[in-house]
């Protein structure tokens, strides 16, 4: 996979005039795993959804969100026409369509118009990759939490995204489920996919992540040690950090 990066400028989200967060710059790179932490309600999921294009950032002038993609600076709306297929967001509790495991895994490929042979080939690889061959014809909604998470990861894996956003990927799972999910995420990272994951499992994720960022009081900061939080991005002098209006 060729090196890939996305740079977001001015990501701001407001709810009823209260600024949830204001992030001057955020860089996401392929092959790198970033841990995003923050207390409940700090806006982690909202931030990931904005990155995935599922939620609109605040677009009040002059704070338009812009994205640098392949050297071009684009506004948020036009950027998503180009990049929304390159970023996949996975919910904390994955949503399974009312269909078989195989149909769930092939959903994205069918909607994106992959040909039948590619779909079949990728499905077989994904079933093996996620160890889901035994349950491939089962209704995905009848699976356990860990199996659903594996289906969700396999569903993303077959689409070969550049960026994967995992919202609390290890929650609601037993030890075995966590172990398997962890292994799958490691494999995805090894394939060069850029990952941002939110988690409260700092010990488990520390071996997986290269960078730890923390969203607190509307600001994104890099954490070098748990007790040493610096403003994100480091060495950033292009844009002043926006103060919170709340």
């Amino acid at each position: 996979m060729k090196p890939y990066s996305l740079t977001f400028h001015n990501i701001q989200k407001k709810f009823n005039q209260r600024t949830l967060f204001s992030i001057p710059e955020l860089v996401i790179e392929s092959g790198k795993c970033v841990l995003l932490t923050g207390i409940n309600g700090s806006g982690k999921s909202t931030l990931l959804k904005i990155i995935a294009g599922l939620e609109k950032p605040c677009q009040e002038a002059p704070n338009h969100t812009t994205i640098i993609h392949e050297g071009k600076r684009l506004d948020w709306k036009s950027a998503y026409k180009e990049i929304h297929k390159e970023i996949i967001y996975l919910h904390q509790t994955p949503l399974m369509f009312d269909a078989t495991v195989s149909d769930n895994i092939t959903y994205g490929m069918r909607k994106q118009g992959f040909d039948r042979n590619t779909i079949k080939e990728k499905l077989n690889i994904a079933l093996q990759w996620a160890d889901l061959e035994q349950v491939k014809m089962n209704n995905a909604r009848q699976l356990s939490g860990g199996e659903k998470q594996r289906v969700a990861l396999a569903r993303a894996y077959v689409l070969s995204p550049n960026i994967l956003l995992l919202d609390e990927a290890f929650s609601n799972m037993d030890t075995e489920g966590r172990k398997r999910t962890f292994e799958q995420i490691c494999k995805l990272k090894d394939e060069g996919i850029g990952i941002i994951l939110t988690s409260h499992e700092l010990t488990q994720t520390s071996t997986l992540t290269e960078e730890h960022i923390n969203l607190e009081n509307g600001e994104l900061r890099t954490v070098q040690h748990h007790d040493n939080i610096k403003l994100y991005p480091l060495n950033h002098d292009a844009l002043p950090l926006r103060q919170i209006n709340s």
């Binding site: 959804k49 995935a52 294009g53 599922l54 929304h84 297929k85 970023i87 996949i88 967001y89 919910h91 509790t93 994955p94 949503l95 369509f97 009312d98 959903y107 994205g108 909607k111 994106q112 909604r141 569903r155 993303a156 689409l159």
Partner: protein, 232 residues
């Protein structure tokens, strides 16, 4: 005037002997109402989806208008349509009055708000993750909408059944704009009204039985679908 017992026996005899006139009335009823649902359902479901999944100015006003239309009596819709379609009315040159097309238009106007409001409630209650998952996996907006519809299909089917149930038994509008013409615009409810006014109960009871069986079938399907919807 026939006794209830003999009228009922005669009614059953009419139904099972394949009385052409009776079955023609039943055929017209189902043909008109099914065509009305076929036109009303896509518009209602699409509008319901837009109103549930998009925030735009006037959205609440639209919901209020459709809620109001829900409670407008069929006869008032019939009267309005009659005025519009009558020879001196603004749409008189279309020559639709006393045709099945006029009945279909009337039934579309009656069923659309009901299907729309019920579908809107179903869309509102649907899990937003369906839309988000579909979109993040690369589905276009239209594909994602169809996915949401598939996932909440039992709720939408219930809306369609309720809409169909309302128009198949509706008498006021059909009578006014259809004219109750035999073998042309006479449907089950208008025929029942006519036969009763003549004191000929047999055909009325036979047609009433058809409506009753259909209502039982629709309600049974509805509760089965709702039960299935709760399971998933």
């Amino acid at each position: 005037m026939e006794s209830i017992n003999s009228a009922s026996l005669h009614a059953i005899d009419l139904l099972f002997s394949g009385d052409l006139e009776l079955w023609n009335i039943i055929g017209i009823s189902f043909s008109v109402s099914l065509r009305a649902i076929l036109f009303a359902a896509p518009i209602a479901i699409l509008l319901a989806f837009i109103m549930a999944y998009h925030r735009f100015a006037g959205r609440r006003v639209l919901i209020y208008i459709f809620n109001t239309l829900l409670s407008v009596p069929a006869v008032v819709i019939g009267l309005t349509l009659y005025i519009l379609l009558s020879r001196s009315g603004p749409l008189g040159n279309l020559k639709l009055l006393f045709t099945q097309d006029a009945m279909i238009i009337g039934q579309i106007i009656i069923s659309l708000p009901l299907i729309l409001i019920m579908s809107h409630t179903t869309f509102q209650a649907s899990d937003r993750r369906i839309w988000e998952t579909a979109r993040t996996l690369g589905a276009s907006r239209a594909q994602a909408m169809l996915t949401v519809m598939h996932e909440i299909r039992f709720g939408l089917l219930a809306a369609l059944i309720a809409g169909f149930g309302r128009i198949i038994a509706e008498v006021g509008c059909s009578m006014m704009v259809g004219g109750n013409i035999l073998n042309h615009t006479r449907n089950i409810p208008t025929a029942i009204a006519l036969e009763t006014s003549k004191g000929a109960f047999s055909q009325g009871i036979a047609l009433g039985l058809v409506l009753l069986v259909m209502a039982m079938f629709l309600n049974l399907s509805l509760s089965l679908l709702q039960g299935r919807g709760e399971m998933i």
